[in-house]
Structures are given as structure tokens and as C-alpha cells.
Subunit: 340 residues, 2 copies
């Protein structure tokens, strides 16, 4: 009897010792991991982001937020990946027009398709919202969701960015990947909230950003459930369902997530309402604005740009003390290659 | 030098021993946890669910599915909680009509409000879709999302079910809570896909089911972003945005999750297309249908019921070999109290 008890005691002691060693080993392994935000320069932006994450994750801190409430949202175009010389989804649509043109002889004389086929990019850019919508519907609708997914998957792995000659998924900002990783390792659930099409992003964002498809919010067209040869399919209709831009972003966030984010990052006036909505919540909130200031490593544009116009949101960031990331000053690295 | 090396060696050996003990301790703790699906009787339904979960989570199994693809979806009314004598959200709307009636003297003579105020439940139930929509819009729209959330929160904690006299959140099925827990502990992400209003569910599902608000898909009305006294709000408009029922369910799943579920559970014809869509995917899939067969512990209804009609889906379950849960036979316990 004594023997059994003694061995139980020894067993328990060993177990406890093992557990302690295990915990020490784990915490040590964590401490040795790469410094967070390694590509960010030692300036205010980095310090504010790190301090914010620390405050909301430190138990006992007055600003502590439980893991389930740690929601971060990021715009995609111009915030997580580049958006010059045009939104990449528009370049995708133009590539699709070229591929589909054999089946559409009428496009040779029909605008905006004719301009795309002539390679007259300036006319396409000037053609206005209605014409752009025509391009999108002709290339994004009329097929099943599975077919569209395969098309995007093929394009994203084979198409090349016109300036860099690299896959579009190379055009992601390394400092933002580090920020996503840092947030995730601190218990945040990270969502994309983009004006771009949700089904244009979902096929590749998990591989590239580590963000699963169910954490992507975007613009969408209507889909319809149908039985085809006894097999259920979802067919993409040429009809806008939701525009996830400007005042649509808080609506999309509320509809999809149902909680207010703690942290929101954007880069243009299209993100203004999302940032306003985020910081209007109680307790600690962080609004982050990526300012494209680096004409050498990336592009420099803001108030007068046709793509990613940043005007009102930049003023509001100044007035309200939001965290503005000056790409040129705050990022030691932009892409994992040199653009120029 | 030797000493340092020796102590490093001892340290490493201790560490490894610690890690092993730690792992053994953890696996033992897991094995000692309650048996999964404890309230399910030893019948085919339980066996099939357990076998399915085991197959898709056993590494090396030909049916193994990576954790990120383990998506399960469940209808809410009649699948996770009861739906008799009427959908609980309709009972909520009727309670709201009574509360708001002081401000609406015209309701005394205006249908369907007059029937609600007279307590003439049968007339309300017979009043048709348009009248029910009127009830919903009068009680669910015209306020900010925050005000509506507070109203639901208050109702769900104070209102009582007409038959049981208990809070509505007591009317959840214990075996389904166990199924959700079993799926979650096996790496599944569990979503609710309900015909009910998404904002009627989100305030309480995390507490009751352990399902976070961002994993709830439902019907919705339009919301609009507005600035009120410099503060951004979302206002609920009396306009349907999306009906997450029947053919709308696969659309809602695709729109929100962007992947096809591995497992879907429902209880009525409103869930048919969701089940069809789920099992049409490649690899292992499980379709589960809760059949209300227990007039003593719950309610018995199917093909001719006005609420939760189960007719076509029951036929299809038979033809296609879906897992039908016979409440009376397959569940040893329904609620955590006795209804009658």
C-alpha cells in the first residue's frame, strides 16, 4: 500500500516537473522566434502597433480584451498588396477579355471591350464605372462558382504583373504579412475587408496571407442555386449583390462578423468609414492608414490618384491621431524583391 | 568544458523526458474526458456520426481531411433548439408588438397587429407571409444595430417559453450541444445556417452553443451606415437583404464561408438544398436530418406541419441514405429538463 502511494507521489512529482519543463521549453522557444514586425523601421508606427497589441493582450491590463473579441480587419488593394498601375482584378478582367474574345467577335468594335483588345489601357481607365461594370460582368458572371474559382486559380499562378514581371502574389507587402502574423500569434482573428470581389480573393488568400476564405469579406455578384444533371451548382449572375466599399465596409463587417473590430487597416478613402466604425467602439481601438510615399520601391500617390485615392481619410487621420504608415520612412522592406 | 557539456546533456535528456511526460499526461487527460455524444442512444445515427468524425480526422486514413477544411453547418430552429408552438423569433416579434403597442394605437384595429394584441395566435399563424413580414419589419427595423442587439439580449434573458415556462435558451437539444462539442474538439469549425435573422441569433449563440457571432449565417434586412451627432451608426431598414432558406442556404454558405461543408445538419425541407450541396462535394460528407418523433419529451411532426415541415427532405434522405436522427429512439435525453 505504502509502495503504491509512494510511487503515485513520485509519479505526480515527475509529472509536475515534466509539465514545468515543458512550459519553460515552450516559452523559451517562443522568445527565440523572430522579432515581430522585423521589416518595420524603429519609428512611431511600429511602436504604436506593438504597444496596442501588448495592451489588449496583457492579462490584468486595463485595456485587456478577451481573445474572442480580438478582431482585426484589413483592406486588400493598396493595403496588403499593390494596386498599381491598376487594381489587379481589373487587369484580370482585361486578360479574360483577351482570352474570351475569340468567342465574341462583336467585342472588336464594342466599347469598353475594343479598347481592352487594342491594349489602350488609358481609354479603359477613363471609360467610367458603367463600362468597368460591363467588363466585370462579361468576365465574372455566367459560369458556376467552381469554374470561376478554377479560372482565378489558373490566372493567379500564371499571370505576371506588368511592371515587375512577377506573379501578382509576389506583390504583397512584407511588413503587412508580418503584422498579420503578429496579430494571429496574439490571438487575433484577421479578416480581409476589400472592395474587390470576394470570389476573386478566396482562391489564393489562405496560401498568401494565411487568412482562410471564411475570413474574407468583399464585393459580390448574385449567385443562384440550380440542379444541373442532378448535381447542385451555384451559378454566377450578372447582377451586383453587394459593394463592399466606403459606407459598405462597416455594413459588410457587421453582416459578416457581427462584432466591431479592434484594429482596422486601410489605405484609401474607400476605407474611411471602416476606420471610423472601428474606432467608435468602446475601449482601445487602432486605426492604421498605409500612405504610399515611396516612388522608388513602390509607388507614390494619394490625393489626386485615380487608383486608391487618399484624401479625406488622410485629413481625418491627422485630426484624429490615427496611425499613418509612411511607406518610405516606416518600412525597411516593401516587397521581398526589388521593384526597380 | 566537460561539465558544461554533461549538464547540457542532462538538461536535454530532462527536457525530452519532460516533454514525453507532458504529452502522456495530456493524452491521458483527454481519454478520461466524458465519452462523446453521451446523450445519444447506441443506434446507427450515433455510430455513423462517430465513424465519420473518426475517418476524416485520422491521419493516414484515405478519408482524412485537413483541419482547415473541416466545416460543419447546422440549421438552428428545430435542429439546435425547438421551434414549437411557433418559431421563437415570431414569438419574439409578438412580444415586441405588445410592448410597442402603446406607441401604436392604430395597431388595435390593424391586422396582423390586432390579432397579436388579442392573443389570437391562430389568426396570426394563418395570416400569411406578407403579414408575418409586416410583423417582422415593425419590430426588427427602424433602430440602430446596437439598440436591436440590446432588445434581443433583454428578451432572451427574460422571456419565457409558453409551454415549458423556461428561458428559450433552455430549449436547446442536449445531444446537439454534445455533437457541436465533439466536432469542435476534432478541429471542426461549426457554423449556424438558419432561416432566422442573423441579428436575432448573434447576441446569444456564443454563450449557448459556443459558436461565435462570425460563424452565424442567417436571413437579414438591409442596414445603412450613417453619422449621427458625429458618431457612426448602422441603421436597420425595413427591407429584406437576404433570405437564408431553401435554395438560399447554399448561397449563404458560399457567400459567407467560401468552402463546401463536410457535414450538414437540418430538420426540414428548408434545409434540403443545404444537404444536397454538402454531399455533392468530393470525398466523405455527412448529411444529418433530425426527425421530430417524440410527442412526449418534445413534439412529433413532419410532413403536414406548418412549422418545420419535413416532407421532400425525408424522402430524399431515404433514397440517398442520409443519416436520419429519430429523436425518440436515438436520443436518451432531449432537453436538460423534462418538458412534460
Amino acid at each position: 500500500m505504502m509502495n503504491t502511494r509512494a510511487s503515485t507521489h513520485t509519479g505526480l512529482a515527475l509529472m509536475r516537473a515534466g509539465l514545468m519543463i515543458c512550459l519553460l521549453w515552450l516559452s523559451n522557444a517562443t522568445a527565440q522566434a523572430t522579432e515581430p514586425l522585423g521589416s518595420w523601421a524603429q519609428h512611431a508606427a511600429k511602436a504604436r502597433v506593438l504597444a496596442f497589441v501588448k495592451a489588449v493582450t496583457t492579462e490584468g491590463s486595463p485595456e485587456f480584451v478577451s481573445p474572442s473579441e480580438r478582431i482585426a480587419v484589413f483592406d486588400n488593394d493598396g493595403t496588403l498588396w499593390a494596386e498599381q498601375p491598376a487594381y489587379f482584378q481589373l487587369l484580370f478582367a482585361m486578360d479574360r477579355v483577351r482570352e474570351l474574345s475569340a468567342k465574341h467577335p462583336e467585342w472588336k468594335t464594342l466599347e469598353p471591350f475594343a479598347s481592352v483588345l487594342r491594349g489602350d489601357f488609358k481609354s479603359v481607365a477613363r471609360s467610367g464605372e458603367k463600362a468597368l461594370l460591363q467588363l466585370v460582368m462579361a468576365t465574372h458572371a455566367g459560369m458556376t462558382t467552381e469554374t470561376f474559382e478554377r479560372t482565378v486559380q489558373h490566372w493567379i499562378t500564371t499571370a505576371r504583373h506588368p511592371t515587375s514581371g512577377r506573379p501578382y502574389t509576389d506583390m504583397v507587402y512584407q511588413p503587412m504579412l508580418e503584422l498579420i502574423a503578429h496579430l494571429k500569434s496574439n490571438g487575433f482573428k484577421v479578416f480581409i475587408v476589400s472592395g474587390g470581389g470576394v470570389e476573386f480573393m478566396r482562391p489564393w488568400v489562405e496560401r498568401v496571407y494565411g487568412i482562410p476564405p471564411e475570413q474574407v469579406i468583399g464585393s459580390s455578384i448574385r449567385t443562384k442555386f440550380e440542379m444541373r444533371d442532378g448535381k447542385p451548382v451555384l451559378v454566377r449572375l450578372p447582377e451586383v449583390a453587394f459593394i463592399d466599399d466606403k459606407a459598405g465596409k462597416p455594413v459588410g463587417i457587421h453582416q459578416h462578423i457581427g462584432r466591431r473590430p479592434l484594429l482596422a487597416g486601410g489605405n484609401s478613402d474607400g476605407d474611411l468609414q471602416m476606420l471610423q466604425w472601428t474606432v467608435a467602439g468602446p475601449g482601445p481601438r487602432l486605426a492604421l492608414l498605409v500612405h504610399h510615399t515611396d516612388s522608388e520601391r513602390e509607388w507614390a500617390y494619394d490625393r489626386r490618384s485615380a487608383v486608391g485615392k487618399l484624401d479625406q481619410a488622410l485629413d481625418e487621420a491627422g485630426t484624429r491621431g490615427w496611425t499613418v504608415v509612411n511607406m518610405k520612412r516606416d518600412w525597411n522592406r516593401v516587397f521581398d524583391f526589388n521593384l526597380r
